[in-house]
């Protein structure tokens, strides 16, 4: 009877540990592709649009502005906006619009998942050891 109880406890502990692994994987990279600086976060379109409607480039150098979450413009980004069509600033390279679990931005997840799986295995081994030891002592 006690063996059964012990076995059930071991299984429950293992299941709990297994359940925590996805949570670990999520927590490591809350926003994998968002640049670290607050100003680099894209601004929702619901924000005031008046700056973008100005045809006159702003005299203020964006790169010297303090980094505040309320500033919609990323660091060092030109402030000129197209007023009559065409692209005013051509980005370099290709956009990275496919975030995968194995991409560089979220590379920490693999290690966490592996570590979690190892922890589960260790927990299982400990459970086996305890059960066998209890059996050997006749408890």
């Amino acid at each position: 009877m006690r063996r059964t109880v012990l076995s059930a406890m071991a299984l429950a502990c293992t299941a709990v540990l297994a359940g925590t692994v996805p949570a670990f994987a999520d927590g490591a990279t809350p926003s994998p592709t968002v640049p670290a600086t607050a100003t680099a976060v894209p601004a929702p379109s619901e924000e005031p649009t008046s700056p973008s409607q100005s045809a006159v480039p702003s005299p203020i150098d964006e790169s010297t502005r303090p980094s505040e979450s309320t500033v919609p413009t990323p660091i060092a980004e030109p402030t000129e906006m197209p007023s009559d069509g065409q692209v005013s600033v051509v980005p370099s390279g290709a956009p990275d619009t496919g975030v995968t679990a194995g991409s560089s931005q979220s590379g920490g997840e693999g290690g966490l998942i592996g570590g979690g799986a190892a922890a589960v295995l260790v927990a299982g081994g400990v459970a086996v050891f305890v059960v066998r030891r209890r059996r050997a002592t006749g408890a």
Binding site: T37, P42, P74, V99, T100, I113, V120, V128, R135
Partner: protein
Amino acid sequence: MTPLSRRAFVAAATASLLAGCTGDRENRTTTARGSSAPSSSSSASGKPARPLGRSVPVGLRIPAIDVDTPVMRLGLAPDGTVQVPPVAADDRAGWYRHSPTPGQVGPSVILGHVTVDPYGDGVFRHLERLRRGDRIEVRLENGTTAEFAVGSLRNVAKANFPVDDVYGDVDRPELRLITCGGPRTADGYLNNVIAFAALSSSRS
């Protein structure tokens, strides 16, 4: 090993396997088709539509691939690449704010993710299914809806991203929808999928 110990071990091993599989659960719907569509960037509709005034996009609807999403504004990342929408469960599209607003003369650029692991599919997960003539509706801040018709779809290697075709000047209102596609590696997707569309009509 006693039967009891064996049972405990098997249970632990099973739990480990389940934990290992969880990380890949959200990857299930990703496709990596390598086929390329015709490479022309011309519009499907030969009928010119009158250009619209400047008004930022706030919503995007593509009935053919079940897209109906708010549109945020995107700028440039510090490294000079275009920003992409943040990785979130409520994935949305983003308009590159250094491009014309949809309906203005020029190439308006809207980007969206194909996948947003660990959350699963991105808003442009089925962009590659678009076909010539499919309708794209962009809701503008001033209440107008600009309607575009897909002219062509391209699946190109990121290393050969067609900068001129996407961002180059055009003499009519056009729209580019961009996401990732093609083969998927540990570092991400190797290709970009780009839909080229031209303004077909508008309504208030």
